[in-house]
Symmetry: C2
Subunit: 428 residues, 2 copies
């Protein structure tokens, strides 16, 4: 298995990374509209993207948000889960199509229009929307753009879609694995939350030409999503529209299942990390490994409590090794959830430095300076000309709860004043 | 019952508000020290405050953090809970005395020194510390300051202590109730989290001269803390050192219990709101009332999910009525906690405006403008010369879950870039 990275590589390499697996075509288009809910009459831009398999795929998998106020595309996707096959996905940005009076009908009308143009049954099509919650889809301009979109269908790199679904993303998120026996998996994602402030949506689409039975694909996808996307948090907000779709065209011979699963997990983990690393507000990516937990779920929950603590996030943003806040966040979560940690068995280290063990902190002036330097070194300094993150370093935080042996790793980002500005001002 | 507000009143009124109940004395002092864990040799200032009853009080109550990595004062307070009586509390700021190798011994040595100076058993004394987690108490300078502190004991207003425990607080938090039949309750607090960025600690001390049996006091305190302090969140971080202490000198005749309980609940709720309203980063106080819940705990949890959502907080900071984020936060929490809300029964209003009902948003240009204006009007604009908040307005958010009939109200604050700057830079 060979893996590719979207980072620190020039555009040509990225295009190559997004080479479509056999049996798929794509198209992208854009349009303008004026939201009816907004006082100003300035037009908004919207991108439409289409991912289409040559034939209906009986092997497909979906992982959908658990948010109890789901968007119309999520409701439709739930219904599609039991269907015989899936052939295509129509994606728009700007408007998330969540809880409007006509949201489900709007999505249906749009897909009927697309199905008509393609000459296929709309029942094998999914829509996926990301953007502002509460606004209606601009249905007429979208329908008017469909013929041009269909006319553009071709074998361009999936990079085009990875870019079209970007909004305030700093770079397209695209990952690929080529399997030893032939065949490939290519995945794209757009970021959410902190780095997608007016979107609050995480979308990912994963294509493969391998002949994977549906049940195997779904099982492997569930595992990969759990260990990848479900282990990141930028601001603790699960959106109304989160969606991961995997689609297998079956053009290549069934590979060794272990290799397929491993490649899928790798891609989901890499895309998840790309989502956290992406964007304007993020200056540090935090990789928190929690060990000594009673279960993986517990380890993940403690890790998320740390990466979601505003006090931890702001300290790290400021390159301030304020380790007391990490211990406080662990103690807070465990206290509120009756997890009987004993402070004498808890250990904490940052990078190579042990800072807490045997019930107490071990801090001194020299260690404080080394930790500050470590944080500065891990900082992402986005310059305007830089298309991709300058490095893949994380702030490595290791927490041993001292209970049992379960371990997991979660990813998060720091909290910057840039995040606040973007999120406070985005509609002005 | 007569109540006083610490807000919009000049200093003389505040001093009057802090008039000590019978049977108590106070003292405040300050000192300088150089933390041994810090590379720089610049000295830090620390305030010491002492609250002392004339006699040991058999009626006292404590409400302590559930954080599983508690500070030394919390561990000592837990042991004191079953003791016969409590007579005094020694409070320091700057260093929280959490998880250092000698923390418990340090607190014991300090109280032994104080007990010696006062000629009383140190077992009736509590310590309370707020400040940086992980640093050792500067024991020698603190002990050296004790004789002066004891010499200053007198009947000054409790305002002196409310100010001495301030750190980055914008104003002292002080509330009083005089009961109809005579006797009074006076409470002070210091803020935490967002508005106490390098402290992360909420402390409150409540004194009364009323003759309340210990068990009644504790029961009423538990109720008042639950409906007051336990209903606020500035950043979701429960500290290692949160502590509320109530002390009754018993000098005044036992009042009508209902009136006492009502007064205590009022003071806790007012002090809690003061904590949220306090401070540099906060520009809007959010009052979220959740109704139609299955239990008060569930209502409180949903409300806290809303006030802790960074996307909600930043939008409100920017006076942006992005109501989709509120609905997304409700759906997120309910989805993750298996709360079976039906979007068709959920209702949301901001101020007087209904924005969500019957499964969909109801937004238009005129409503959007009215909501923006409402948010701007509720903004706290701290000018440098202003000692107290300019008004007591909140952003009123009402959420009906449409399940059963439980209701509660939680308080939170918005998220500003000033918060991030303070928390990122505080040790530089």
């Amino acid at each position: 298995m060979q893996e590719y990275s979207s980072r620190q590589q020039h555009r040509q390499t990225l295009r190559e990374c997004g080479r479509l697996p056999d049996g798929f075509r794509i198209a992208v288009s854009s349009l303008q509209f004026v939201p009816e809910e907004r006082p100003s009459t300035d037009p908004f831009n919207m991108n439409l993207s289409l991912i289409l398999a040559d034939e209906p795929c009986s092997s497909f998998g979906l992982s959908l948000t658990k948010n109890r106020m789901p968007g119309a595309p999520i409701m439709r996707a739930r219904a599609v889960l039991g269907a015989e096959s899936l052939q295509g996905i129509l994606v728009n940005n700007r408007v998330a199509n969540v809880c409007t009076e006509t949201g489900v009908e709007d999505a249906g009308e749009l897909l009927a229009c697309l199905g008509g143009q393609l000459g296929i049954d709309p029942a094998v099509l999914l829509s996926s929307s990301t953007g502002i919650i509460g606004w209606r889809l601009p249905l007429e301009p979208m329908k008017a753009a469909v013929p041009e979109l269909v006319a553009r269908l071709g074998h361009d790199s999936l990079l085009a879609v990875a870019e079209a679904i970007m909004t305030t993303d700093a770079f397209p998120k695209l990952r690929r694995a080529d399997l030893a026996g032939g065949g490939s998996i290519v995945g794209i994602a757009k970021g959410a939350g902190m780095i997608e402030p007016n979107m609050a949506t995480m979308l990912s689409f994963i294509l493969t030409d391998l002949d994977i039975p549906r049940e195997v694909l779904r099982e492997e996808l569930a595992t990969a999503v759990e260990a990848g996307f479900n282990r990141i948090s930028v601001d603790g907000d699960q959106s109304t529209s989160d969606m991961v779709v995997a689609l297998a065209s079956g053009r290549r011979e069934k590979p060794d299942t272990d290799e397929f699963g491993e490649a899928l997990r790798l891609i989901c983990r890499q895309l998840a990390e790309d989502v956290v690393r992406n964007g304007e507000g993020t200056r540090h990516v935090l990789r928190v490994t929690v060990s000594g937990a009673e279960s993986e779920q517990q380890a993940a929950a403690v890790g998320k409590a740390v990466v979601n603590s505003p006090l931890v996030k702001t300290a790290l943003y400021g390159n301030d090794p304020n380790v007391g806040r990490i211990i406080a966040a662990v103690g807070d979560y465990c206290g509120n959830h009756d997890i009987a940690i004993d402070s004498h068995n808890v250990r904490l280290s940052i990078g190579e430095e042990s800072v807490f063990s045997d019930g107490s902190f071990h801090l001194d002036k020299a260690k404080e300076l080394r930790l500050s330097h470590y944080l500065k070194n891990a900082e992402l300094r986005h310059s305007t000309g830089l298309e991709y993150p300058p490095h893949e370093m994380c702030v490595e935080i290791a927490i041993d709860l001292g209970l049992r042996s379960a371990t997991t790793t979660v990813y998060g980002s720091d909290l910057s004043d840039e995040y606040v500005r973007i999120n406070a001002d985005y509609r002005t």
